[in-house]
Symmetry: C2
Subunit: 221 residues, 2 copies
Amino acid sequence: MSEAVAEYPRITRRTLHEEVLERLRDMIIEGRLEPGQRINEGQVGAQLGVSRTPLREAIKTLASEGLVEILPAKGAIVRKFTAKDLAQILQVLKTLEQLGGRMACELASDATIQAINGLHERMLALYKSNNRLEYFKLNQAIHSAIVAASGNPVLMEMHETLQARIKRLRFIGNEGPQKWAGAVAEHEEMMAALLKRDADALLDVIGRHMESTRLRVADVF
Amino acid sequence: MSEAVAEYPRITRRTLHEEVLERLRDMIIEGRLEPGQRINEGQVGAQLGVSRTPLREAIKTLASEGLVEILPAKGAIVRKFTAKDLAQILQVLKTLEQLGGRMACELASDATIQAINGLHERMLALYKSNNRLEYFKLNQAIHSAIVAASGNPVLMEMHETLQARIKRLRFIGNEGPQKWAGAVAEHEEMMAALLKRDADALLDVIGRHMESTRLRVADVF
DNA sequence: ATTCTCCTTGCTGTAGACAGAGATCGAAAG
DNA sequence: CTTTCGATCTCTGTCTACAGCAAGGAGAAT
């Protein structure tokens, strides 16, 4: 047996609780499970065609990620976020993204930055064609990609966790053409700064972007 | 029923998986479960007097916290951290702690800062009496307290998670009188800056403290 | 002696069962 | 009519059982 064959040992056997975890995360982010709603293990398990064991394991992970809250002897409920929660999350998110942005300006390859620019272009197209759902997904992907360009997986992980918490809020909060235009303008600025590798400018835009996100989403409450 | 009675609804029924979670975390941090070691569910469960179900739930949470790694069909192993991992974690930790420090300078009450100073004094006493274990615990507590003084629980949570990952490394890495003295000196500086609410100075010390932590711990690898 | 194959053994992944806590609804007392 | 107590029922928390994968060793073939 040659050694070339064993090059990619990532066979990734997917277990049920992994599968369930993703499904639940999606259900929460898509709003199929509403904030405050209790997760009935029997019901959801039946719905997913899975016994309670892997379901419960997935719920424990979601709790650790901060997407659900576990009330002993009462079960798990989808976590509700207040305006204060949002502000606190965005503050940390801002800091993390600024760190990612600075490192990206310093360390990322031109190819990486070009790839991010590609995402940005595609996002603009979706904006013009008024495809809000796909626009939103790409928007999130761009933020993640900037952080990923830092080359620090720990930073990515923390960023991803926090981003997931407020993904839903961001989606339903950013409604309306005026808000949308504002967000796009900020993204234009971000991209311009990143292309110039101008860290100071990038950090500044990211800071303002987070603050205006907070204001835009605040209407939800 | 008056409303005063319901003031503290935190009866905190402790479930088994919560209990197990804490125990496992301690076992990993204390080194009773060594990095790379497989966690045999039957064995550990028997040792803790608990069936596999709550144990597995706790393991899922630990995986989400980044303390163990789950290999499908092979079980969980205590995560091994490389020098690179350490550097990446410390980089994020530095950023988070700097954010916490800046906010603490701006927002914390005098009482809070005095409380942190109290911890610091006690830590110095432990240094002089050469009580390394208790010194270490207080050291960690001080870092946490500074971040807590920011008043941002999300920030605390992220900080706590990352701190837990490298707690063990920090403990075994900071051995030796010279390293110890250096760490204490940095803490002195931090405390002085905090007492003066001099954010710039505090951020600077925190940055240097993290870097020297990295160097001190690097010998472990 | 080496390698391949098959078997055995141990452990994980999942399902199902059981006990106990909480919630709900109705009835009785004020 | 309101309130309180109690019975019932649902759902969670935990345990146990079972199936299937993985690793390791024994034996046979080369």
